[in-house]
């Protein structure tokens, strides 16, 4: 029995905490992706680049002297208009084509390519890193917890709860869900559908940008970082159900825990194939994911 507790305390629990940190980050990225798909029916292949953009912006602003606390608010705020413009200028152009899924996928894929090279053009190819805003650690029950990671988990949870509250408990949220469920009906009821769409896209990418700000001090910043999360984020969205917030949260936690714990027993190289395998199985068994779509859940 003592052995089991020891094992839990020194091996399993730390691994779970690591999985949790990663999970919060993945959920933040996936949340934006699932809202964008659930509401706009748009596949945003450039979502990872918005995560990267948030990180790059935080590095530049930090270098100008902006304190970290302000960055957490400023960077997502900056990304809102950027996302809004992208939706109105780019996405809307192909929104009304018959095979919207394919064309938006292709368009955002191209956009992602451009963004990655733009990052390289502006910030250079070498890695950058903002200073750790909170240093120090705390040791609870033998678990070594850097304070910054505890902070990240806290902030992440707040954001996720906040998003869920906004979507399900506010009027704006009701408008978003209505537009997702039935666009024309919502429009005829006075919901400003265009605004809601653009706003939802902007919100989605700014969530990704926020994840970028949070992770930059521990994962560093470089032009190809957008690719870090993309496969995982898409897997979470698919497993959780396109358009479902609860799905993104649960799938995000589950998949990152699976990855973290599995790497204790098998070579970590198999982490990606396992995640991919879960995605394939889910698509074969229950293609709509664990939960339904935004409006339909």
């Amino acid at each position: 029995m003592a052995e089991a507790i020891d094992y839990f305390q020194f091996v399993l629990a730390p691994q779970m905490v690591i999985g949790l940190v990663l999970g919060i980050a993945v959920i933040l990225v996936a949340l934006g992706l699932t809202i964008i798909f659930g509401l706009l029916d748009v596949i945003n292949m450039s979502h990872g680049e918005f995560y990267a953009l948030g990180a790059f912006l935080s590095v530049s602003l930090a270098a100008l002297g902006v304190p970290f606390w302000l960055l957490l608010v400023l960077v997502p705020a900056l990304m809102l208009p950027i996302g809004y413009i992208v939706e109105r200028v780019l996405i809307q152009r192909v929104f009304h084509s018959p095979d919207r899924h394919v064309t938006t996928l292709l368009l955002t894929f191209g956009f992602g390519l451009v963004l990655e090279d733009v990052f390289r053009l502006i910030w250079g190819p070498n890695p950058l890193r903002p200073d750790m805003p909170i240093s120090g650690a705390v040791e609870i029950a033998g678990l070594f917890l850097p304070l910054y990671r505890v902070f990240m988990i806290g902030v992440g949870v707040l954001i996720i709860i906040g998003t869920a509250l906004v979507v399900y408990r506010t009027r704006i949220g009701a408008m978003v869900r209505a537009a997702a469920f039935d666009r024309n009906m919502a429009a005829s009821l006075g919901v400003p559908v265009q605004l809601v769409y653009a706003g939802a896209f902007a919100f989605g990418v700014s969530l990704a940008g926020l994840a970028g700000v949070l992770l930059a001090p521990i994962y560093s910043v470089f032009p190809t970082m957008g690719r870090d999360f993309i496969l995982m984020a898409f897997t979470v969205v698919i497993v959780g159900g396109m358009g479902s917030i609860a799905g993104a949260v649960i799938a995000g936690l589950f998949l990152t825990q699976v990855q973290a714990i599995a790497s204790l027993y098998i070579s970590p190289v198999w982490a990606d194939p396992i995640v991919f395998g879960i995605m394939v199985i889910m698509l074969m068994v229950r293609p709509q994911g664990l939960f339904g779509r935004l409006g339909h859940a």
Partner: protein, 329 residues
């Protein structure tokens, strides 16, 4: 029966013929000028055109966007390299590639064809990533360095033999193989099989009522595309003498998709012209700036927004109209 599909196919054939004529002229000029590099570059463009062709079969005719077609291309390249290093025979390598393509296509199709649309794209993407990573870490396959040492081979045509080191000669060999792949694809797609595929793409719920199983048809198309990609990949090590894991990476798949969009989705011949177009663009822009991805990305985005039918998508209907006017009288 001369319907729209047949008309547009005939237009494609005419354009393909034009391409062949243009290619032959290029080869002649190349030989006259004792050129090596440009002929080899053109050969490479044709090899990647084969990959683009396989993407077009899936996207343009079956309605499936594959973001990981480089998987088959790269595997074809590795299989060909391994075969050639044991037995330097062109025909054997080609045969092994065809058989592997069929087998791999069946396996891949089984995994990927459970779903369509976005999910299909993501599964193909993930599949290519996973296999690429496995190869990247496999020492027996050269790991991250890939494998050099694929010998120069002689393509035995019975009456003569062409060396893979001969720029013009091998260019003609690859031209023949690529056009053969095009011809096979075009033929198969102009049959009832092809029409059924287009029917599924338009509305796949009705087709079973006609007595056909949509999944089997899609699998057929997928296997055909996989085999074409594998055979094209098999030609690569013959030209360049080596293989590396980068051949399976997303960049290769992405380039194929860009090629198809620029060239014209659903035209088959668009994949060929698109590959030449992209090779030329990359070469020109590449020597001009190192940020060529921005330019190609913007070009691609404009194509998706403003010219979704691509180059051939604009040209072919005009040719088809011209042909049918000449035909019916």
């Amino acid at each position: 029966m001369r319907d729209a599909l047949t008309n547009s196919m005939r237009a494609s054939h005419l354009l393909a013929l034009l391409l062949v004529v243009f290619a032959l002229i290029t080869a002649a000029v190349g030989v006259a000028m004792n050129d090596t590099f440009y002929l080899r570059l053109a050969t490479e463009a044709l090899i990647f055109a084969g990959l683009a062709l396989s993407v077009d079969i899936l996207l343009g005719y079956t309605g499936l966007l594959s973001l990981g077609q480089a998987l088959y291309f790269g595997l074809g390249a590795y299989i060909s390299a391994l075969t050639l290093m044991q037995v330097p025979s062109f025909w054997l390598a080609l045969l092994v590639a065809i058989l592997s393509g069929l087998a791999l296509g069946l396996v891949g199709g089984f995994i990927a064809l459970r779903v369509r649309g976005v999910y299909f794209a993501l599964i193909t993407f993930g599949l290519a990533q996973v296999v690429a990573k496995i190869i990247y870490n496999t020492r027996a396959l050269g790991a991250s360095d890939g494998m050099t040492g694929v010998p120069i081979i002689n393509v035995n045509l019975g009456f003569t033999s062409i060396s893979s080191a001969s720029p013009a000669g091998f260019f003609l060999v690859v031209l023949t193989v690529t056009m053969a792949l095009y011809a096979i694809a075009a033929y198969l797609l102009d049959t009832p099989f092809g029409r059924l595929l287009i029917a599924i793409k338009a509305n796949d719920r009705r087709v079973p009522f006609l007595g056909y199983k949509a999944t089997t048809l899609r699998l057929g198309s997928y296997v055909m595309a996989a085999t074409i990609a594998t055979v094209s990949g098999a030609l690569y090590p013959m030209l360049r003498g080596f293989v590396s894991p980068e051949l399976l990476f997303f960049a290769t798949s992405g380039n194929a998709v860009i090629t198809v969009i620029l060239g014209g989705v659903g035209t088959l011949v668009g994949a060929l012209y698109g590959s030449i177009l992209l090779t030329v663009i990359k070469s020109v822009i590449g020597s001009w700036t190192e940020h060529h991805l921005i330019i190609i990305g913007l070009l691609f985005m404009s194509a998706v927004i403003f010219f979704p039918q691509g180059l051939m998508g604009v040209v072919r209907p005009k040719v088809a109209k011209w042909l049918s006017r000449g035909g019916t009288s």
